[in-house]
């Protein structure tokens, strides 16, 4: 084991900055990172052991002990719950004889929860030994566990066809479905690799930036920062060593559109990175992609090789002397927060994914302290089309303030979940008609960090004028219990995914959850609803977007569904500790065969 680990560290030249790759490689090789080697690894990288532990213990998918020959990570996002995840979970436990959070005594099967894995349109879904399983039912789980007991390789356990498009290509072979429901005018404009790049090199780099600025393209990850402006800021830096990052860490529950883009048009994304590289004179690019999409690795690596062969990456790209740019793929290891751009950089440098203090911004001091552009997958793909067809073509789509199109990830209670490319400006009402949703009680726009809107708000429009979003829309039928199923799930998500650095985000969501439980248990009073709103406010004092929005599920559901909370609280009293003495001592009373007098 020691030799294997040593070899891996040598492969990365004892570079502390490559710690993520080192740890992922060790885990791939050995199944886990043996704890007794931590001191050795730390010494080889010239860091203290606790500094190494700090990184390992941060990431959900890194483990210091074996988690079973078969390790099941069952997604626990809200849509999985809506599609009968509980039944699937129970069947896994019954069939394997082990409870979630544990490994069976014979070491065969480990069962674990995991935050949204980007399969909201085909839930319940699980990752088993890095292979994706979707549309799970108790019947299928029984078959899968039986296969595990026979020692079958996971790749041979599938009964479904592979998914459409590239999902069934030799290098992916996944049952994942693309569910492309609507091909829009930008991403599905006929594409010839190199078309944007070849045009961009006939332009001055400054003019490329100008063209992107004129297109009014804004970041498609959700924050909506003007892309051209970001490039310009980076370009203004005095530092000449620069980096282009593609943020492929889509972790916002309910979002899966970047997965579809990376499956169907990765060349367009990489080409967008190369165009950015040309525009600001960067020589290297990094795709930071979430661990959950490990099943795409071989395919993406191969795509990069093809681009190098086609002279669209590498040296003197497209025959342009001195235009050198190459890309490497950096996998994460399970942390929602790494989608925040400065946390992403920390992670890419082999550290905990904790957001940085700003200023300075990544465009001034980013990867390894050098100016860095970080753009979302969809944003980069669109860059290619804007360069090819011009900024005016792009601004003619969408609305005044929201140019172009948006790729939506739609899930929940509707007939046709999947991805849809639409022009900005449609109302939520239009969207519901488009996807076949009726009797809608609520729509979560922008994932848990977004807002929960009620039926009166359906005329609201998608776009930066009103509902700017990364594109996750989760639809809830009137039969759903919004507080118990939705708000609680989202609040637990934020507790699980907080990095723990800020006092506010580390502590407040947990306190809010306890309050929510009190209300759901029938012990709530009106004051508790007001407390939830008041106590959420300190989250705005957090460092990053995760902290700022961690209270949103509660705040926006109280804003738009206050009546549901009011129905749950006691009207006849204004104070309740939430503590039930008789209930708390029930078990010990039974054991001692005594009763309480209260």
């Amino acid at each position: 084991m020691k030799t294997t680990v040593n070899k891996i560290i040598k492969k990365y030249k004892n570079d502390r900055y490559r710690l993520m790759d080192i740890l992922l490689d060790i885990q791939e090789e050995l199944g886990y990172i043996p704890e007794d080697l931590n001191q050795m690894i730390a010494d080889e990288l010239s860091i203290s052991k606790v500094e190494l532990d700090e990184t390992i213990s941060f990431y959900h998918f890194l483990t210091q002990k074996p988690l079973g020959e078969y390790t099941v990570y069952l997604n626990n996002s809200v849509t999985a719950g809506m599609m009968f995840r509980e039944d699937v979970k129970k069947t896994f436990e019954e069939q394997s004889g082990v409870l979630f959070g544990n490994v069976s005594s014979d070491g065969l099967i480990g069962l674990f929860d995991t935050s949204c894995i980007g399969m909201s349109d085909q839930e319940p879904a699980a990752i088993i030994n890095n292979v994706m399983f979707t549309n799970l039912t108790p019947f299928r789980v029984k078959e899968i566990v039986a296969d595990m007991k026979e020692g079958k390789p996971v790749e041979e356990m599938h009964k479904q066809n592979f998914g459409g498009g590239k999902n069934s290509s030799d290098l992916i072979q996944a049952v994942v479905k693309n569910n492309i429901r609507r091909k829009g005018p930008v991403l599905w404009d006929p594409y010839e690799p190199g078309e944007g790049l070849r045009k961009s090199i006939t332009m001055e780099p400054g003019d490329v930036i100008e063209e992107i600025k004129n297109s009014h393209l804004r970041g498609r990850g959700g924050a909506g920062f003007p892309t051209g402006l970001k490039w310009e800021f980076c370009n203004k830096s005095r530092e000449k060593e620069r980096y282009i990052f593609c943020n492929a860490d889509e972790g916002e529950p309910g979002t899966f559109k970047d997965r579809v883009i990376l499956t169907e048009m990765p060349k367009m994304v990489f080409e967008g990175m190369a165009i950015a590289g040309y525009a600001v004179g960067a020589k290297s690019g990094v795709v930071y992609i979430r661990y959950e999409y490990l099943y795409l690795r071989k395919y993406l690596e191969n795509t990069l090789s093809e681009l190098r062969k086609a002279k669209l990456l590498g040296r003197n790209i497209a025959g342009k002397n001195g235009f050198d740019f190459d890309i490497r793929i950096q996998y994460g290891a399970g942390a929602y927060i790494c989608g925040e751009e400065s946390a992403l950089l920390e992670s890419a440098e082999g550290k905990r994914g904790e957001p940085r203090d700003r200023p300075p911004f990544p465009v001034e001091k980013g990867f390894k302290g050098k100016p860095t552009i970080i753009n979302n997958v969809e944003t980069l793909a669109k860059v290619v089309k804007i360069i090819k067809k011009g900024s005016t073509w792009f601004t003619n789509l969408g609305t005044q303030e929201s140019a172009g199109t948006k790729l939506l990830s739609i899930s929940g209670d509707c007939r046709f979940p999947g991805v849809y490319e639409i022009e900005w400006g449609h109302s939520i009402y239009d969207i519901l008609e488009m996807v076949g949703a009726t009797d809608v009680q609520a729509v979560q726009v922008g994932g848990p960090s977004g807002i929960l809107i009620n039926p009166n708000q359906l005329p609201r429009k998608l776009g930066y004028e009103d509902l700017g979003t990364g594109g996750s829309l989760i639809i809830f039928h009137e039969s759903r219990n919004l507080i118990r199923e939705v708000v609680m799930n989202f609040t637990e998500f934020f507790i699980e995914e907080s990095c723990g650095s800020c006092s506010t985000c580390r502590n407040t969501p947990f306190i809010l959850k306890q309050k929510l439980e009190k209300i759901l248990d029938g012990h709530g009073v009106v004051q508790d609803i007001d407390d939830l709103v008041e106590w959420s406010k300190n989250l705005k004092f957090s460092r990053c977007g995760l902290g700022h929005t961690a209270g949103n599920p509660i705040i926006t559901s109280i804003q738009n569904f206050r009546h549901l909370y009011e129905k749950l609280v006691q009207r006849d009293r204004d104070y309740d500790t939430g503590f039930n003495l008789a209930e708390s001592v029930k078990e010990s009373c039974e054991a001692s065969n005594r009763s309480t007098v209260v």
Binding site: V50, S57, D357, S501, T504, F510, I511, K540, F541
Partner: protein
Amino acid sequence: MSNKVKFVIDGKECQSDEGKYLVEAAKDNGVYIPTLCNYEGLKPKGSCRICTVKINGRLATACTSPVHEGMKIENYTAELNEVRKEIIELLFVSGNHFCPACEKSGNCELQALGYRYEMMAPRFPFAFPIREVDASYPRIIKEQNRCILCKRCMRGIKDEDGKSYFAYKNRGKDSLVVADRKLMSAMSPDKAKEAMEICPVGSILVREKGWDEPIGTRKYDNAPIGSEIENK
């Protein structure tokens, strides 16, 4: 290099060197902005959030924000003070802080802030987490019940190669600050004392050292935290 800039805090005209962190720049002008995770001489980390002010209307931590010409800063406002008090309460309820029994009592910055912000009883329920007292190191005791995860020890206590004696473990509400066994075994008495002093609370204690300052002579016995800046 040191260009002077003018800025305004709560209506008061201030002057300092361009680019200086706001907490320090305010201090130069006799204005106290409360801090907890900040420590003079260390790179700021902005993790406790207590120094949050409004700079030109936007929330920002004063310990990490450099001052620039013409900045308008709100510091002593009802809204900001209320959230600061909330943060102090959050830190109290998320750990197990029993001031009367703590070696750092009277010299503890969290306790002093509790007094300054007139915390009576916290509004939040106590979490009563189960935390250990790690007394397994030769020089120090790491009292996890009192740790507020400010990262001062992590940033300040390093060996000659720049390796950290302390680091985070886990994430979110399960985060802990833990010590490195190998480095700890070789820690010098001076380093141990430095570690205890850098800790704003009583989470890092030098072994075999108890109360040695009589009540009345401790740092915050006679005047609230911050008054040393305001009464300068």
